[in-house]
């Protein structure tokens, strides 16, 4: 049996569902539509096949996710990933943290910030802008949300404008959603050595 991953890592594990994924050969038209399955694209992850049990929410969720993380303008893609990492640390979603830490590393061309965050936690010493972003995302992710006017003004002092702050709110909030699915409906397991 594969070993469950319990510590934060930038090496992306596999994800093992606790819920039986929808069998794609038995999927309804609505499920296939929500999964964006076409004759030329039948590669669908177990995670999406689990979510396909609720096709009505999956259908808007995918374009919403892509819009928040990848649309043009506003906050840089790397900094949106940092927001996702902040939320994933608070919710201890090892899988999401790994995926978005590794994307941050690629986009920022830097591995030291994530290494420091995983070693030292949310108070790790980073450049002031990254610190303010990470802290705001983490505080917004608590239950109830704990971000304050001071956390917001730290973002402004670090040079973020309204559009950038809105994108950060969106990415941190989005991972309040994604973590609650990924971490509760399955678990990260060590990927087999290739």
């Amino acid at each position: 049996m594969s070993k469950v991953v319990h510590e934060f890592t930038a090496v992306v594990p596999e994800w093992k569902p606790h819920v039986t994924p929808v069998d794609i050969t038995q999927a309804s038209a609505a499920q296939l539509d929500a999964l964006k399955v076409t004759p030329s694209n039948r590669q669908v992850s177990d995670y999406l096949l689990v979510l396909a049990h609720d096709a009505e929410t999956l259908k808007p969720r995918s374009p919403l996710f892509n819009g928040i993380m990848y649309n043009r303008g506003g906050l840089s893609r790397a900094e949106r990933e940092l927001g996702a990492v902040g939320a994933s640390i608070v919710n201890r979603c090892i899988y999401c943290a790994a995926v978005h830490a590794s994307r941050y590393n690629q986009l920022a061309r830097d591995e030291t910030a994530i290494a420091r965050i995983f070693a030292e936690g949310l108070d790790a010493e980073l450049d002031p802008r990254s610190s303010a972003i990470l802290r705001f995302a983490a505080r917004l992710s608590e239950c109830p949300p704990a971000a304050t006017a001071d956390d917001l003004s730290a973002l402004r002092q670090a040079g973020l404008d309204d559009e950038e702050i809105l994108d950060l709110v969106l990415s941190a909030a989005l991972f309040g959603w994604a973590n609650r699915l990924m971490h509760t409906l399955g678990e990260p397991v060590e990927a087999p050595a290739v």
Partner: protein, 162 residues
């Protein structure tokens, strides 16, 4: 069309924040569409619209968002929630049958402390008679409302500072 999130955050028309929000109009429209799919889906499975709205109200209360709680309680009324379903919105109610107790317990866990959830919690839902499809529907509901609460909280902070 009215947008719940923009209404709740009381974003001032013509402000810098309103301009930033309008550039992300696609995101706000998809957020509203997911809200409708999570609370009033065409195919509700084992979770009625009334129960969904009552659970959403409960999650808003856990997050101390009384405006959103009021919105969901209102939706529970419009959906014709039974008295038993409405009780699910009360934080001191833990369910009085096996299935409702399991749904409420899991909703509370995922809303409040998702990091503590494990495969045993999914197994407990199954043992209480909740099929996999309803486990996913419940999870999406709690997860989506948790997102919406944080989006509104962030927008309120921005509006207050502008």
């Amino acid at each position: 069309m009215r947008d719940l999130v923009i209404d709740l955050a009381a974003i001032e028309p013509g402000s810098g924040l309103a301009a930033a929000v309008s550039k992300r109009a696609d995101i706000f429209a998809l957020t509203q569409a997911t809200h409708d799919a999570a609370i009033t889906p065409i195919y509700a499975g084992g979770l009625s619209h009334g129960l969904r709205a009552a659970l959403a109200c409960r999650i808003a209360r856990i997050n101390a968002d009384m405006d959103l709680a009021r919105h969901f309680l209102d939706l529970a009324g419009k959906a014709g929630a039974s008295d038993a379903e409405r009780r699910v919105a009360e934080l001191d109610f833990a369910g009085d049958d096996l299935r409702t107790s399991a749904l409420v317990r899991h909703a509370d866990l995922v809303a409040r402390d998702p990091k503590s959830a494990t495969g045993k919690d999914i197994a407990a839902l199954r043992e209480s008679g909740v099929p996999d499809a309803d486990i996913v529907r419940l999870s999406e509901l709690v997860a989506f409302v948790s997102y919406q609460i944080r989006l509104v909280a962030g927008l309120r902070l921005m509006q207050a500072a502008s």
